[in-house]
């Protein structure tokens, strides 16, 4: 090979790099490990993480994942393929995305989905940008966002939209939901959109019909943020109010993706047909080949950065293809009945857990209407309680006191279908001990 190239040694391959920039070794990078050694190393690291029982939700939910999902998603043909730019050689990936788009449209009751975005927070940020672009009836670069939307989604979106001069204006809460009486203050003011999460970050249920109609009467777009698992039970965004939400988005993780330290997950986005040309990210369409046979291809690419460059709808290039593949397999296995039962099992478990804990002195349930997360009011600071339970291998929930100081000592708990009766018995028993009460109390 060297002879073919016309060089004496491989060092010459780098002869265009100026001499003063060349290095001949790395500082502080360890030596190679054999595969067996790497396996030992990673097993010991995994063991150090342990196997705590989690009652945390707050945007990531542990559900049963059928063995089929990752067995097939990690087949080399899916795992090691790239973006389906050569459509004829990527029909597998393309058809999976088309089926995924169809399933997301079904779940949300809206018309068209894209091939996914990075995660829930960035999907929300992209939905805000899209609403400003797509709402031709509003000139505003301001968006109303309920305080019941995931606090990190709001934080991430505020940062991303700021660069384009867009401002998020907060709607306050009453009893864990958007305060409908406080909307009056915004009458007569132009906003591009209102953003509503259902179920809310606090697990509560919003009056989405009233909010949607209020916004549409004022030419605002409605951006819905929903956990797709709950959409097998709750009214889909496409049917909110009289006209339905305009854009739905959120975190796709509950559809067959493990919680795995926060990623990789995928963000989903679905919208009305009329505004599809303002949607960011890849979209797959069905068409025909030269012989008239049906096939799939990336479409509406004129929106995207590799064509439009600085005028693209977004700088996004990557999607979360492998996660979408897993989610499509998951949704196919569960079907609407399987999703509905799983979602309701989470609801039943969380209700059971919350009211059992509320029998303890010093704990009460803050809001009675919730889906599969509940706010518990404690009579003492939350973090020390979480720490004490963590010592006993229980992850008790999410401490709300930093992001919702107005709620006082509040703990957000979640018991999904992955939690058993025994897990919940253990949680209650250890919480009882931590609060300094006897089992019988």
């Amino acid at each position: 090979m060297l002879q073919q190239i016309g060089i004496k040694d491989t060092e010459q391959l780098f002869d265009e790099i100026p001499a003063d920039l060349r290095i001949d070794h790395f500082d502080s990078v360890p030596d190679a490990l054999g595969e067996a050694a790497v396996i030992r190393l990673m097993r010991s690291r995994a063991a150090a993480d342990g196997d705590a029982i989690s009652f945390i939700g707050a945007g990531a939910y542990e559900h049963h994942i059928p063995a089929v999902v990752w067995d097939i998603a990690t087949r080399g043909e899916f795992y090691s393929a790239y973006t389906p730019y050569q459509a004829e050689a990527s029909q597998g990936t393309l058809q999976v995305i088309y089926e995924y788009q169809s399933m997301m449209a079904g779940l949300t009751g809206l018309d068209v989905a894209n091939a996914s975005l990075y995660d829930g927070a960035t999907a929300f940020a992209e939905a805000c940008l899209m609403a400003v672009r797509a709402n031709r009836k509003s000139k505003s670069r301001k968006i109303l966002v309920s305080r019941s939307v995931h606090p990190v989604y709001r934080q991430v979106a505020a940062g991303i939209v700021r660069g384009q001069g867009i401002e998020l204006v907060e709607l306050s809460l009453k009893d864990g939901c958007t305060d409908l009486t406080a909307l009056k203050a915004f009458d007569g003011e132009d906003f591009a959109a209102i953003c509503i999460q259902q179920p809310t970050f606090l697990g509560t249920l919003e009056d989405v019909d009233a909010l949607t109609n209020w916004a549409h009467e004022r030419t605002m777009f409605v951006v819905a943020i929903c956990n797709p698992m709950t959409l097998s039970v709750l009214t889909p965004p496409g049917l909110w109010g009289d006209e339905g939400a305009d854009i739905a988005c959120g975190e796709g993780q509950p559809m067959g993706i493990p919680v795995s330290s926060g990623g990789p997950y995928f963000g989903y986005m679905v919208c009305r047909q009329a505004i599809v040309r303002q949607m960011p990210g890849r979209i797959v369409g069905r068409t025909v080949d030269l012989d008239g046979k049906p096939g799939f291809t990336l479409t509406l690419q004129a929106r995207e950065q590799h064509i439009r460059r600085s005028k693209a709808t977004s700088n996004i290039c990557t999607n979360q293809g492998l996660m979408v593949t897993a989610a499509t397999i998951y949704m196919s296995l569960l079907g609407s009945e399987g999703l509905r039962r799983t979602a309701l099992q989470c609801h039943e478990n969380t209700r059971s857990l919350a009211y059992r804990l509320a029998e303890l002195e010093g704990i009460s349930v803050a809001y009675d209407m919730f889906f599969h997360e509940a706010v518990l009011q404690l009579d003492r600071p939350v973090q020390p309680v979480i720490d004490a339970l963590s010592q006993q291998n229980i992850l008790a929930g999410y401490d709300l006191s930093a992001t919702y100081p107005e709620l006082g000592n509040a703990l957000l708990v979640c018991a999904t279908d992955a939690r058993t009766e025994e897990d919940m018995d253990l949680f209650v028993a250890i919480m009882t001990a931590v609060l300094g009460q006897s089992e019988a109390a």
Partner: protein, 493 residues
Amino acid sequence: MTEAIIFELSEPGRRAANHAPAKEPSHALPAQFLRQDPPLLPEVSELQVVRHFTRLSQQNFSIDTHFYPLGSCTMKYNPKVCNQLAMLPEFTARHPLGSTEHAQGFMECMFELQEMLKAVTGMSAISLTPMAGAQGEYAGVAMIRAYHEARGDHERREIIVPDAAHGTNPATATMCGCVAVEIPTRPDGDVDMDALRNAVGPQTAGIMLTNPSTLGVFERQISEIAEIVHEAGGLLYYDGANLNAILGRALPGDMGFDVIHINLHKTFSTPHGGGGPGSGVVGVNPRLEPFLPIPMVGKREGDSASPYVWLTESDRPQSIGRLSTFMGNAGILLRAYIYMRLLGAEGMRRVSEYATLNANYLMTVLAAAGFEIAFPQRRASHEFIISLKQITRETGISAMDFAKALLDRGFHAPTTYFPLLVPECLLIEPTETETKKELDAFASAMIEIRDQAHESPQAIKDAPLTTPVRRLDDVRAARQLDLVWKPASELSE
């Protein structure tokens, strides 16, 4: 071998029953919140699901099945063990908000990954949160803006981008509220320095460069470019798309770059997954450190049982903030960590050695066979460009036709029509994990296609014939949008 749409396999009431509660759960949710009709999802058995998606997978080209020389994408082998270990149950079950004492194993990996990435880039600090190259770019330009703002330098809004740049570069500038200013490339592939000198000024926020560039050559004037941009008060952004070519040979930090993103799904072999997830971690030099996105992993001195801690808002008040709900594509970061430990310091230097050897070998073989090399006087990096414009002129066979004919010969096509500067181009990146035999077979296929282009061009225009479908009607796809499956009953309405 068309595979039915999964909805077409559906039978009412059929389901893979053992994945959901057998007993109907109880609830007390008021009717006003409930959906009336179930969502349209397939109703199929587990075996139907397994067969359907297995068959779909078989309709893909992938690294595991085909040579995949897709330029600028670094389609190298993804070691199986990286996936297997990243999916150990303790890692997949760890909730991102779980307490740090139940995360020390994971966090130790992340801390060491930060340290190794510092060493291989020459930067002083790393944040792992960006979830793809484009988000890394976003973070980088946002940090550049934050840096100027913090100095009270509010007028710097221009980001200089060479015309050969990846489309995400100018799109990122726009997303960050900046204006992209394109500068031309000289015929030898390096940046036009006069154009650069004319472009910089008090309005310059920075420059985004890929080095080696998307033209497959090392930018030799990089130190001078750094001097010009820094002198004008701007900063240098390194797009790490092509880091594979210089791994262990030169450090972006030494070249004068202030901020860099690294595509872990390219250089560090995390899977491409049919278009993602990626990972676009960012590194900076000391002047940009305060602005890095959070969270990052820190290590406490002393002999605490839980030395690894998250660095968040309170530790890093000047940060540009969070870019994801939790901490980015954690599982992908684990795969990159495992890959780096497998290779070690010497193995990573072999990456650039063999990637560059393979590219230069294939380039010279194709050149000897008469193909037009875009930059024949230059050494190739880990990829190179050929232009087919003469063949197109003579035979009417375009770069796209060539790409399709390669599919029929069992090779994934190289990148076509990028970079935009070179007409009828193929950007070819063989990567370090291919054998000489594979490269020779690819070269033979290229020669065969060229010969056929002259002898029977129609045969090439008809390609591909061996794939599940032939060329698709893209115009129809965009005009008669069919993005969602609908049952026949709804379509006839």
